[in-house]
Symmetry: C2
Amino acid sequence: MKTKSFSEMQCSIARTLDHVGSWWSLLIIRDAMMGARRFKHFQENLGIAKNTLTSRLNDLIEGGIMKKVPADDGSAYDEYRLTDRGRDLSPVIIALAQWGDKWVAHEQGPSTVITDKETGERLSRVWPRREAGDLVELHEIGMRRANGAPPKIWHQEKEDQT
Amino acid sequence: MKTKSFSEMQCSIARTLDHVGSWWSLLIIRDAMMGARRFKHFQENLGIAKNTLTSRLNDLIEGGIMKKVPADDGSAYDEYRLTDRGRDLSPVIIALAQWGDKWVAHEQGPSTVITDKETGERLSRVWPRREAGDLVELHEIGMRRANGAPPKIWHQEKEDQT
DNA sequence: ATATGTGGTTTCATATTGCAACTAAATGCA
DNA sequence: TGCATTTAGTTGCAATATGAAACCACATAT
């Protein structure tokens, strides 16, 4: 459910989740990235209720993540496509997939494979890096709010919080 | 809401969302990454209802994302900390933050800055790369389901689906 | 033209969330 | 020690979202 909107929060994560944080949103986006375009593709593949799908698709369209366009194969039915903005969520989707592969892999089930479409080579794990391109260890990462926001000192750093 | 569990789905993204897909989960994890440890930190900072927070924290603990441990500062109250598994969600959190910064930045509001804790240098955008380390363009990315799973041919590739 | 498929909308039962009030233990202060 | 306040919840109730099934209009197939 959601009766409270994250959009007023001065946090880019909260505002992002306001767009894609609903239960089905990211799965719809994933399916779109894997080639789903039509209402029935999403509906059959996800097993989502039709009214919920309608609702989620409209939210995504309103948020500029997807767009409803005339089919390019002659069909009179419209297609749902990702916008540039939506496709730009790929790192999020891939990061989710890779975390799942690592920590909650389904033994007897297949998982999502992300590759270079040309060569078929698996991509490396999406991971934070410095501008120079070198990987950053988790404990080396700093997260804070930009300008105006209060630094939020919760407790004295007595020792490394790791 | 959610009455349907994603966990049976043979998809790493769905199973990941089963752990962190609830409305507040990722924001709680974000706060934990920024140093929140105590119940009140999360509650005050997020403005989440206490019963909901209790519920979400328990879910995260059950999912192995967070753990409840005795405080190390002498307090009798327990602290909520990320597990290794939870901290490993950093790429997801960072990817969400960076997408939000790019597409839904709050003009008069601060956003999340991710840096090298030592130098303060901003990290580059989290982005898919080949094993060699070079960036992959969005249209070069292939996503498919591993072994067993049906390839899900939805339509003939008439032209590039971009 | 007639049947089926596609893309919805509507209605109802159920599950979650938010809010406010209440509680019990921990902490702060005199 | 003695009492007020804070913290970490729990409980009950109202509001809202979801799922399932029925229903409907338009497209497509035969």
